[in-house]
Symmetry: D4
Subunit: 233 residues, 8 copies
C-alpha cells in the first residue's frame, strides 16, 4: 500500500483551476515543462475566452490550436496581444526573448500538408526548439528528399507529415538515425478515407524508429519532438 508520504509526493504536483465547465491544469508547466495548450475546435466562445485568459495570467504566455478566424476575434477581445497564424489556425501570445535550442526537422510530402506541418512547427518553436522546414518532398520525386537529407539528418528528431499513401515516413525512417514521428494527414480522396491510408501505412512502416500520432495531429508531433529535442540537449 502507498504510504501517506508517497501519496503526497505523488499528488501535490498536480493541480488545476476548477471553472466547472473546465479544469485547466495550472501547474502543468512546473510538472512537465510544458504549459497547458488549448484545443480550440468546437469550444464555445465564452468558455474559450475565459480559458485563454486564465492560462495567460498563470503562465505569461498561451498557445491555442485549431482556431478559426472568428475564435481569434473572440480571444483578441480579451487578450489584445494575441496573434493568429491563418495557415495553421494557431493563436498565441509568446514570451519575448525566448531562447530556442537544438534542432527539429519538419518534413511534408506535399503542399497540401503544410497546415499540419505549420501546426507542428509553430508548436515546437513555442516550446523552445529550433525548427527547419522541408516541404513538398514526397517520394514520387526522390531527388527532392535526397537533396535535403543532410540537413534532415542533423536534427535531433524528424517529423514526417504526409497524406495520400504516407510513404515519406518509411523513406525518412530508412535514411536517418534519430526518431521519426509520423503524422498522417487527411490529404487525399477516395480510398484515402480521410487519412486512414497514410495512418495504416505509417503504423506498418518497414523502417525502424517510426512512431505515429493521430491524423492531422501536427500539435502532438511537435510536442513529442520537443520532448526528444530537450532530452538531447
Amino acid at each position: 500500500m502507498l504510504s501517506v508520504e508517497e501519496a503526497e509526493a505523488l499528488l501535490d504536483k498536480v493541480s488545476f483551476l476548477d471553472l466547472g465547465f473546465a479544469k485547466p491544469d495550472l501547474e502543468r508547466e512546473e510538472r512537465t515543462g510544458f504549459p497547458e495548450v488549448i484545443y480550440c475546435s468546437g469550444k464555445p466562445d465564452k468558455y474559450l475566452a475565459e480559458i485563454f485568459k486564465n492560462l495567460y495570467e498563470t503562465n505569461g504566455e498561451v498557445l491555442g490550436t485549431r482556431a478559426t478566424l472568428e475564435q481569434y476575434e473572440v480571444v483578441k477581445a480579451v487578450l489584445e496581444d494575441a496573434q493568429y497564424d491563418e495557415v495553421s489556425g494557431i493563436i498565441k501570445i509568446e514570451k519575448p526573448g525566448k531562447k530556442r535550442i537544438g534542432k527539429i526537422a519538419i518534413c511534408s510530402a506535399g503542399t497540401a500538408d503544410i497546415p499540419v506541418a505549420e501546426e507542428a512547427a509553430l508548436t515546437a518553436e513555442f516550446f523552445g526548439a529550433n525548427v527547419v522546414r522541408h516541404y513538398d518532398i514526397g517520394v514520387s520525386g526522390l531527388s527532392r528528399v535526397l537533396s535535403k537529407i543532410d540537413d534532415i539528418r542533423s536534427a535531433n528528431c524528424v517529423v514526417a507529415i504526409a497524406g495520400m499513401e504516407g510513404a515519406l515516413a518509411s523513406v525518412l525512417g530508412g535514411l536517418v538515425s534519430v526518431p521519426v514521428i509520423a503524422v498522417p494527414t487527411s490529404v487525399g480522396y477516395g480510398a484515402n478515407f480521410n487519412g486512414v491510408a497514410p495512418l495504416l501505412s505509417m503504423i506498418n512502416s518497414c523502417a525502424n524508429g517510426v512512431a505515429v500520432v493521430n491524423i492531422d495531429n501536427g500539435y502532438g508531433a511537435g510536442y513529442m519532438a520537443v520532448q526528444i529535442n530537450r532530452l538531447a540537449e
Copy 2:
C-alpha cells in the same frame, strides 16, 4: 438493335466445355492470346484432375496456381510431366522451346514477398515474356532499389510487390516511365490487416502510372504485365 451478323461475330468467338461442375473456356487462347489458367485453391481433387487434363489436351500445355503439394500429387497422377514449384505453388506443363520476348521487371520489397513474386514471374514466363527479378529492395534501404534502377527502367512493365506499408510501389512509380502494376501482399502483422494497409497505400500512390491488383495476386500482375509487354513488342 444488334443485327444477327453482329451477334454472331460477337458470340462465335466464345466457347466452353460444359462439364456441369465447371465450364472451362477452351477457345480462350484463340480469343485473347492466353490459354485458361487453373486457380487450384479449394478445388476438389476429382474436379482438379479432370480440368487439368481437359485443358492440357486442348492447349498442349497447362498452368495452375495456388496448388498444394497434395494437389500436385493428384495432378501428377493423371499428367506425369507436370512440374511443381514449391515457392509459388505453381503446377505446370510448358510447351518446349517457347520463345520469350520483351522484358518485365518483377520487384519485391522483402524476402517474405517472394512467393507472390515468383507466382508473377513464372506466370509471365509461361506466357512468353522475359523476366528480371529484383527481390528484397524495400524502401527502408533506398540504396538497394537505387542500385538496381537502371535494369528496372529498361523493362516494358514493372511489377511492384510489397507487404508492410507497400511504399515500394510509390517509389518505383516515381523512378520509371513505364506502367507499374502494384501487388499488395499479406506480409505483415497487426494493423497490416492481411494486406489491407499496402492495398490502401498502393491505391493512394502519389506517383503516376501505378495500378493495383488484389492482395497476393501475383498471377494477375504477371498476366497484365504480359499483355503490356506484348503490346510493346
Copy 3:
C-alpha cells in the same frame, strides 16, 4: 556500393524548382515523357497561380485537374489562354497541332460517371492519345456494351469506369484481350460507401487483365492508358 558515376547517372536526371511551399518537377517530361500535372483541389490561390505559371513557362503547356470554376478564374488571371472543362474540372493550355497516336477506349457504366470518364479522356488526349468514348453501357443492359464491343476491342487499352457495384470492369475484362484499367467511382448511395463497393468489386474481378486505380481517379487511369498506348505504338 554505388559508384560515383552510377549515382550521378541516377540523380542528374531528376530536378525540381524549389518554391519553398512547393517543388514542381521541371524535368519530368524529359525523364518520363510526361510533364508534371497540377492537382488543384485544395491548393490555395496564390500557390496555384504560381505553380501554373512556372510549369507553363517550362513546358509550353499545362494541365490541371479537379479545379473549381473559382480556381479557373485565378489561373486565367495569370494565364489568359487557359481553358476550362466544367464537366471534368480540368484547366489546360495545350500546345497547338499536337499529334495523337494509337487508341484508348474509355467506357463508363452510367451517366453519373461521366465527370470521371472525361477526366480520363481529356488527360489521355492531352498526353497525345486518340480516345473513343462509350458512356452509359453498364451491365444491367448487356446489349449496350455488346453493341460497342468491336470498337472497344480494337483499342490498345480499355478504361472501365463504374460506380454502384462496378461490374463493368469484370464484364469488359472477359471480352477484350488488352489491359483494362478499372476506375471505381463514388456514384451510388448507402452501402456503396462512396466508392468502396466498386473498388472491392474491381480488385476482386474474376476476369484477367484488370488493375485498379483510386476511387474517381480518372486522371490516373488516363495516365497509365497513355503509357500503355505509347508502348503499343
Copy 4:
C-alpha cells in the same frame, strides 16, 4: 388496445416444445407452410440428436443444414434413415412421393460456389420446388450465361450465387423479369474479405429486382425462392 379475441387469434397459432436448451417450433409448418429446419453448425451432439428426433416425429420428415460428417453419424444413430449430402453438408429424411411444383433456377458463378448452390437447391427441392442448376457461368465468360439464359428466364425465381466480385447478380438481374435472390459467397481471397466484396457488390446492384441474403446462406435463398415459387403457382 388489442381485444382478448384478437390476442388469442394472434397467439394461438404459435407453439413450441420447451426442451429448456431449445424451443423447437412444432407448428411452424401449419403456420407458415414450412417445417422448422435445423442449423447444425456448432450444436452439441446431444442437443442435435434430440432436436432431430423431435422434429422428425412431429413432421414426418426433417432437414438439417451445415452438418459435418461427424454430426451425420450422431443423427444416423437415432434416425437410421437419415441421408447426408457431402457437398452441401445437408442431412435429411424426406417424405416419399413428394410432388414438386413450379421452377427455380439456381445459378453459380464458379465451381467453388457449388456447396452453397447445392444448399439452396436441396432446400428448395425439400420444400417441394422443381430446380434447374446452372453452375460455373460467371461473367468473365459471358457466353456461358448467355447460352443458358432461356432456361433461366423461364423460372419463377432466380438464385444468383457468386464469390469474387459477385457480378453475376447484376448481369442476371438485367436479363430476367422475375426476382433474383443474390447469395454472396466467401469464395475468393485478399480484398474479398470472406464475402464482403460480393455482398457489397450485390447490395449495390445496378439492376432492378435483386435482393440479398447473408454470405454463404444458400438455405435462406432456397427458402425465399420457394416462397415466391409457391405464390406463382
Copy 5:
C-alpha cells in the same frame, strides 16, 4: 457455341436509345414488364429533362426517384403534367385509369423512415400493385406491430423498413409466411453508421424468408415486391 438463331433470340429483345451521355432502355417494359425508371440524384439538369421527355414519349408515363424540388421544376418545364411528392422525392406522370392488383404491405419502424417507405409505396402503386401502409410499428412497442399483423399477413409480400437496429425485419419475418424484403434506412446516429447497423442486422436475420436491398432503397424494395405480387396474381 451459340447458334445464330439463339444469339438473335437472345439479343433482339434488348434495345436502347443512344443519346451519347445516356442510353435509356426503351423496350424494357416489353421485355420485363417494367418501364425504365430515372434515378434523378446528381443528374445534370439538361440530361434530366431530355431523359424524362424521351421515356415519357416512349412509354406514355414516367417515374423518377430521389428528385429535389429544383429538379422537379426542371422536369415540369418540359413535362407540365409532372407531379411531385415531397416526402419521397418522386416525380411522375402516371397513365390514368391504371388497374391495381394484389396486395403489398409496406411497414416502417419509425416516423423518420417514412420517406423511404413512401418511395417503396409509390413505386409499387405506379407499377400496378395495391399497397397497405403500416408506419411507426417498431419493435420497442410490440403491441403496435401485433395489432396490425392480420392485415400484414394477408399481403403477397411484405416490405420491412427500419433504421436504428433494424429489428422489425426479423420480427415480421417470424410472423408472416410470405417473403419479406428488408430495407435498412440511414435513420439513426453514432454507431448506426448511416444504415450499416440495420443492414447487418437484416442480413443476419434469424427469421427465414428475409432478403435485403441497399440502405434507403425504397424503390428497389417496391420493385421486387411488385415482381412477387404479379407472380402471385
Copy 6:
C-alpha cells in the same frame, strides 16, 4: 400455448395513439414508470408539434431531445410553457414540485463533452433523480478525477462520458463499486472516427461493471441511470 388470460394480461398493458405517421405510446408511463420521450432530430415540424401536444396532454409533462432552436419555436407555438436548454438541445415542460430521489454522478472527460453530459443530466432530473455533475475530469490529469472520487463513489450509478480515447470509463470503473454507464462521444478528430474509438475503448474496458450506450446517447445513459437509481431507493 399462451392462454387467453395470459395473452390478455400481456397485451392490455400496451396501448398507443394511432396518428398514422406516428404511434406514440400513451400508457408507457403506467407500464414502465417512464413517459414516452420525443427524439426531435429530423422530425418534420407538423409531426413534431402534434406529438408534443398529444404527449403533454396525456402525461401533464413532456420531454424532447436533440431539438434545434427552430424546432423549439415550433413547439413553443403550441405549448407556450415549453423551455429550451441550448447546451443539450432539450425541450421540456416539467410538472412542478417534482421530488427527486437518490443520486446519480454524471462525469465528463472534457469540456466538449458537456452537451452530451447535460442531455444525460437533464433526462435524469426530469425522471426524478438527484444528479451531481463532474465535468472535464479526463485521465490526462488524474488529480482531477481523484479529487472528486468520494462524491462520485456515493452515487447509486455513475455515467462516464468521454470522446477522444474514452479512457475515463475504465478509470472510473476501477474506482467505484456501482454500475458505470459509459457514453462514447463524437468529440475528437482523425482516427476517432466520430466516436468509434471511445466506443471500442469502452466496450473493451478492463474494469468490471461498465456497460455502453450509443455514441453521444446522453439520453439513453440518463434513462438507465434512473432505472438503477429507482431500484436502489
Copy 7:
C-alpha cells in the same frame, strides 16, 4: 490540491500482491464487494496456478472464466476442490451456504448462445444473486419470449444474450421496466463478423434502458447485473 488526508483516504483502500508477472487485487472484495476474478484464456500454466492459489487463500473462494479443460487440470492440481463447468468454461471454488438474494433474468436468443449465458448465470450466482434462465427465446418465434415475459418482468435486471442480428435486446427492452444488459455473441456466420452485427444492433437499440457489454462477455453482464441486483435489495 488534494490534502494528505484525502490522498490517504483515497489510496489506502487499494492494495495488491506484487507477483511481478501479475498484481492481483487482494482487497478488491473489501473495496467493491466483489473478489477479483481470473480471466484464464491465454494465461500460462504456472502463472495460472499461482494466481488461483493466492486469490483462494485470500478470499476463501475463487472464480475463473474462459478456462479450458487442460487449465482446469492445472488448477485442480493445486486446489483439489476446484470444480469445472464445461459449457461455460468456468472454474470455481465457492464458499458453502452462500445466501442468494433478489432475481436476475438471463435470456438467450438461441441454443448456441448458452455458453455465454451460463457464464453470466454462474457469475451472478457466485456473487450471490438468484438467477432465472430463459434460453432459445429469439424473436423469430415471438410466442416464446411472450410466454416467459411475466417471469422476466419480475427480475431486478435482465441480461439479453443474442448472436445473429441481436434483436432480442430491443424486444426485451420494450417489454420490461428494469435495465437490460445486452450481450452480443459471436454466434452466426458471414456478415455477422463474429458478433459485430449484434453488437451494432444492440448499441442502436430503439428501446430505452439497454446498455451493451463486449461480444461474448457473459461475465461482464453477470457482474453488472449483480451490482444492480444488490442495489435493488
Copy 8:
C-alpha cells in the same frame, strides 16, 4: 540538381550484401548506430540460417525477433552460441561486456501483454539501454501504476504496452514528462478486433507526448526508446 559529391556523400554510406533472396544491410550499424535485426516470422529455414550467419559475421552479434522454437533449432545448428527467450521469441548472440546506459521504463497493463513487453525490453537491452520493467499495472487498479510512478518518471522514455482498451498509455502520458511510446497488443476478444481497439485508443490519446507503433510491435517500441535514450545521455 545534386552534385556528384553530394550524391556520393549520400550513397556511400549505404551498402548491403546481395544474397538474391535477401539483401541484408551490412553497414547499418555504422550508419544508424543499430545493426540490422532479423524478423524471423515466416522466413524459410534455409534463408534464416544464412541471414543469421552473415549478420553475425559482420557485426559480431545478432538479434532475431518472433522466432519459433523450431527456428531456434535451425539457427543453433549454424550458430551454436545462439540463445532463445521463449516468452518473447527472441534469438540472440550478444557481445560480452556490453555497457548499458540511461534508463527506459517498460510498462504493461496485464500479464498477457508480457511477451510483447519482453520483446521491447530485450531489444532495448541488446541495443545498450538500462531497462526497468513494471508489468500488470493496468488502469482498472490505479494504485498499481501510482505506486510505481516515481520509478517510471525517472526514465528517459516510457514504453506503455496494453491490450483491451489500451488506457494505460493515456494515464501514463498524463503522469510523466518524457515521451511515451505506446504499443497496442492483440490481447482481448470480441470488439477488441485483435488490437484495433487499443490502437485507436492510443492514437486518440488525450494526453500529450504519446506516439504509437504497430499492434504487438514490442521491437519497434524498444528500438525508438533506445534512440531517445541515447539522445538523452
